[in-house]
């Protein structure tokens, strides 16, 4: 049977249309993807992201293990700071994209994709070696809730004794919710400002209800997907996978080749200058038909790429996609043909992201 988050009953009794996602029974939407999307862009949306994997690392060699498997540099993290990066295989392909948190005083945490949780737990065990580190998978005994949107910080004021608006972007803090341990971070996956909470599973429903009571709108995975796509954030299984390396994915900023050795580094040094590797680009469709995952891209009748994900983007009001194309076709302004269900449609390469939030 599919896994259920601590908020499952709430979703099921509030119109959530439940679907299987990476082995979890999750709401894809409650009312309308577009409405939920707009709530996040204009006010504040609430997401149950308890399905994401939450691992903690303690012990004297915790940092050393993280450095060994993580492409970004965890050694320069300040207390509470959060950093995005990749876990790569030996060939430089992406095993997962993750966030690493430096906890105050006692260790680190890693948030991984639900679909990759078992794989990453096994990967860590395999590469732990003789390091003094204890890894705990806290996914099933905790809940994780995201509040996202221009109204998120205001909405969260007073929910915890520590106020999230005191955090700089991509920082976290340990606080409490109704007397229980709670981690609050200024992170998200929507292109908006916002807050993410981690609390013990038993406190999840009360926190969720409290945030709903303050006016946050429940949003499903459907809106999460359109939001992240507009913000050009990659999704594992679409833009990222074992055969794709972070450099071709446009994530070179999260790869620190000069931090010391890590798994995949040698391969990445070789792949860095390989002109045959396709690169991630944004596409805007000329018409309204949507190029979805797998659609073939061509130029002058020759196949030069494939769509990784596509949707109708509610905020930019266009059919958009992210795709991998040959390097010679990656320049913004390049026009390409997309095979959308047997019919050719025109698309144009555009700079990423499609949407950038207005500066406050």
């Amino acid at each position: 049977m599919a896994n259920r988050t601590p908020l499952h009953d709430w979703h099921a009794t509030h119109g959530g249309r439940m679907v299987d996602f990476a082995g979890w029974d999750m709401p894809v939407q409650y009312t309308s993807i577009t409405e939920e999307h707009q709530a996040v862009r204009n006010a504040a949306g609430l997401f149950d992201i308890s399905h994401m994997g939450r691992l903690t690392f303690t012990g004297t060699d915790a940092l050393d293990l993280i450095q060994h498997v993580f492409t970004n540099n965890a050694a320069t993290l300040k207390e509470g700071q959060v950093r995005y990066g990749l876990v790569c295989n030996e060939q430089g392909g992406i095993r997962d994209d993750v966030l690493v948190y430096r906890w105050p005083t006692y260790g680190y945490a890693m948030v991984v994709n639900a679909s990759n949780r078992d794989k990453i737990v096994a990967w860590l065990a395999e590469h732990k070696g003789s390091r003094q580190v204890m890894i705990e998978d806290r996914t099933l005994d905790s809940a994780m809730i995201a509040v996202q949107g221009p109204g998120a910080l205001e909405l969260c004021r007073g929910v915890t004794p520590f106020d999230a608006s005191q955090l700089a972007y991509y920082y976290s803090a340990h606080t409490t919710y109704r007397g229980q341990e709670c981690v609050v971070s200024r992170t998200g996956y929507t292109g908006e400002d916002g807050v993410e909470y981690m609390v013990p599973a038993a406190a999840g429903a009360a926190l969720w209800e409290a945030l709903i009571g303050r006016g946050a709108r429940a949003c499903g995975l459907g809106a999460r997907d359109t939001l992240r796509l507009e913000a050009a954030m990659p999704l594992y299984g679409h833009e990222l996978g074992e055969e794709i390396d972070p450099l071709q994915a446009g994530l070179g900023w999260a790869v620190k080749l000069d931090k010391g050795d890590f798994i995949g580094r040698d391969a990445l040094l070789r792949r860095r200058d390989d002109p045959t590797l396709r690169v991630r680009v944004g596409l805007e469709m000329a018409g309204k038909r949507i190029a979805r995952e797998g659609s073939i891209l061509s130029r002058d009748g020759k196949e030069i790429g494939r769509v990784a994900s596509g949707t109708f983007a509610p905020t930019v009001a266009k059919a958009i996609a992210m795709a991998y194309v040959a390097r010679g076709c990656a320049e913004p302004g390049t026009t390409l043909d997309v095979d959308v269900r047997g019919k050719s449609e025109a698309a144009r390469v555009v700079p990423l992201p499609f949407y950038k939030r207005p500066k406050a």
């Binding site: 309308s32 993807i33 577009t34 309204k288 109708f312 269900r341």
Partner: protein, 128 residues
């Protein structure tokens, strides 16, 4: 249009026959399953359509679906307003959201299609 007077296909189209012309749309159930319709493609007047075959497509944020004709015939009218504003389909699926008008051969009927009680039974078994 009164839903009791319409006929229904297993693929969630509704049809009504008047003066040899079938008006076709999709049901409220279909609209609710799709949600967030962003685009519809319809045939041109004069095109022929065939029973059980696709005559167009409807695209939502999440997915794209074919539209199926329950009859053989010739397109004699399309609802052009939907091309500019496909949200009309969700607002009024059985009325202003009609999609195409199909002229059928004399003597053809919609008898093979489901009645409302039969259709409701089908969707009750699909809905969960």
């Amino acid at each position: 249009m009164d839903q009791k007077d319409l006929r229904y296909s297993a693929t969630h189209e509704w049809a009504s026959l008047e003066g040899g012309v079938v008006t076709l749309g999709i049901t409220k159930f279909a609209v609710e399953q799709l949600t967030d319709v962003v685009y519809i493609e319809l045939p041109d007047p004069g095109d022929n359509v065939f029973a059980g075959e696709s005559f167009g497509e409807i695209e939502s944020v999440k997915a794209v679906s074919d539209l199926y004709s329950p009859v053989d015939g010739e397109i004699v009218g399309i609802n052009e307003k939907l091309l500019d504003d496909p949200t009309i389909i969700a607002q009024d699926p059985f009325g202003k959201g009609w999609m195409v008008k199909i002229k059928i051969e004399p003597g053809q009927t919609l008898d093979k299609l489901m009645t409302l009680p039969q259709y409701e039974k089908q969707i009750a078994s699909q809905d969960h």
